[in-house]
């Protein structure tokens, strides 16, 4: 789907979303049931670097400052984090963390946050955009990953064929919506046959989970069988030793 297709399908009543520097998007839109939503984005397959991250965080913080609890929709078609000496020198980890914290603050202050992935997102960019919201929606064309299989093969020195074979029986490492849905990272997948606006309205209507539900979801979907139990066991021992 093109960006325009995505925006039109999400916001058929209209939007004022504009492209900014470094592949960013910013603006507002209307969703049924809300007077307005804030829209931010990184698009065009642009890697997420320090320049885009600080711009996006600024938009998010401005929305928080407005104090109207309007939802924030983050549309994502990025790449990985920007792989550049300059960005690392300047402290890319702080810029990505700052973006994540800004979204987390928004959610904590009552702004529902939804990431809508319609293209790529990998590694550090995946963490700071798609995974940083209360909900992650994958549209047709979404291609999330941690690392592509050929690179995993190179780093781990395991044959690519072996990785491809293993990926058929476990969702624990391979790229794609399906395994990331199974482990609880992707909240919902929306197919092209349904109007996205209605689904977005439904999603925003649901009260956000009191606590991060993704490990519970991963267990329910049988994609991540241990994470929730391990976290619970540690927490139980913490109470027992109090």
């Amino acid at each position: 789907m093109t960006l325009d297709d995505v925006l039109t399908s999400l916001f058929p009543s209209g939007h004022q979303v504009e492209r900014g520097p470094s592949g960013t998007l910013h603006g507002t839109a209307k969703v049924g049931g809300h007077s307005k939503v804030t829209v931010v984005g990184i698009v065009g397959g642009t890697p997420l670097g320090v320049d885009a991250a600080i711009l996006l965080a600024g938009h998010v913080l401005a929305a928080v400052e407005a104090g109207d609890r309007a939802p924030i929709v983050f549309v994502v078609d990025t790449s990985s984090q920007n792989m550049a000496r300059r960005d690392e020198l300047l402290g890319l980890n702080e810029y990505l963390a700052h973006l994540y914290k800004s979204l987390a603050l928004a959610a904590a202050q009552g702004h529902p946050t939804v990431s809508v992935l319609f293209g790529h997102a990998a590694a550090g960019a995946f963490i700071a955009t798609a995974l940083a919201s209360q909900s992650l929606v994958a549209l047709p064309g979404a291609a999330p990953s941690v690392m592509d299989l050929p690179s995993i093969s190179r780093v781990t020195k395991l044959p690519l064929e072996q990785l491809e074979r293993l990926a058929k029986s476990t969702p624990i490492f391979a790229p794609g919506v399906k395994p990331l849905f199974a482990i609880g990272a992707v909240t919902q997948t929306w197919e092209g046959d349904q109007p996205f606006a209605a689904r977005l309205k439904d999603l925003l209507r649901q009260a956000p989970a009191a606590s991060d539900p993704r490990d519970r979801i991963g267990l329910e979907r049988k994609g991540r069988l241990l994470a929730q139990k391990i976290a619970e066991r540690v927490a139980a021992e913490a109470v027992a030793h109090a």
Partner: protein
């Protein structure tokens, strides 16, 4: 159940995760949660013909720091690069949630994260990546409950990838000279962008770009310590009382300082360019001087902040 330290001045870099915890906290105060005898190990390594670790490479528990109750997590950087896997990550998530839920006068005074990680464990890439997000989410909750989260970095693996992002979500960051804090590893940048962009074999370059001295001078970490375990302990104790709250004012201040850094140094490609622009003395020798001489240098304007 900790190993005995060889000497009081034990090196953080040389020490195991367990030895760091034992040396950091008040003597004999550490109680481990889900210890190695419970064998909560990764089920995903055998299919890659890898053996595991009884604690999946992370030690979590509680203890006292200068008589104050704290929760602690320490990554073993020598086991699979200290990388986040499903169980490893879930142990830290559980610890953070326990801290959040016991916030109050009887709860922990701080959470100490002894990070030593190359990022996500590729054999469990999706679970590791999601765990990192769950950890950040939980750190935000702990901080919002009024409990500072301190990152202590000084081991072999540094704090890379998602580990670098986690570091910068903490209230305060302490690092020693050995530490590198970054997102993409130098080898990955070289593979993707070529040796001109980053010669990963140039160790001096690696430390100029992502090492603790650069981070400290630019405000990327909050305290720089010499590398002994007592140095980390002393600094952690001092920092607990000075952690910024997780709120809009803090993040707005961070927005300002990070924007300013870009404006002032956004066209720099190596650390000495930053030092020259900032008017720091010794700009050519910062990597070579002793820790004492380094600590005498005044940081760049704005580097000494509590906007994190």
């Amino acid at each position: 159940m900790s190993n005995r330290l060889q000497t009081y001045e034990a090196s953080w870099y040389e020490a195991s995760a367990r030895d760091r915890v034992a040396g950091l906290l008040d003597a004999d105060s550490f109680v481990e949660f889900l210890g190695p005898e419970q064998r909560a190990m990764s089920p995903h390594l055998a299919q890659f013909d890898l053996t595991g670790a009884f604690d999946d490479g992370i030690v979590v528990g509680r203890g006292r720091l200068d008589s104050q109750e704290v929760f602690v997590a320490a990554q073993e950087g020598r086991f699979l690069g200290g990388a986040f896997g499903e169980v490893h990550g879930a142990k830290l998530v559980g610890l953070l949630r326990a801290a959040r839920d016991s916030a109050g006068p009887a709860g922990p005074r701080a959470v100490l994260l002894l990070l030593d990680t190359g990022g996500v464990r590729l054999q469990e890439a999706n679970a590791g990546e999601l765990a990192i997000s769950e950890i950040i989410h939980a750190i935000v909750e702990v901080r919002s409950a009024g409990i500072p989260v301190l990152a202590l970095v000084g081991g072999r693996a540094g704090a890379f990838g998602g580990g670098g992002i986690i570091t910068a979500c903490c209230s305060r960051i302490v690092a020693s000279e050995h530490a590198r804090v970054s997102v993409s590893g130098p080898e990955v940048i070289e593979t993707n962008k070529g040796v001109e962009e980053f010669d990963s074999k140039d160790r001096a370059l690696v430390w100029r770009v992502c090492g603790a001295r650069t981070r400290y001078l630019t405000g990327g970490v909050d305290r720089y310590v010499k590398g002994s375990i007592p140095d980390f302990r002393k600094t952690a104790i001092a920092l607990i009382a000075h952690a910024p709250p997780f709120e809009l004012a803090t993040l707005k201040a961070e927005q300002r300082r990070l924007s300013e850094r870009l404006q002032r140094f956004g066209d720099c490609r190596d650390a000495p360019e930053i030092w020259r622009k900032a008017g720091l003395p010794e700009s050519e020798h910062i990597a070579e001087i002793t820790d004492d001489a380094f600590l005498a240098i005044q940081r760049i304007k704005g580097a000494d902040h509590d906007a994190r």
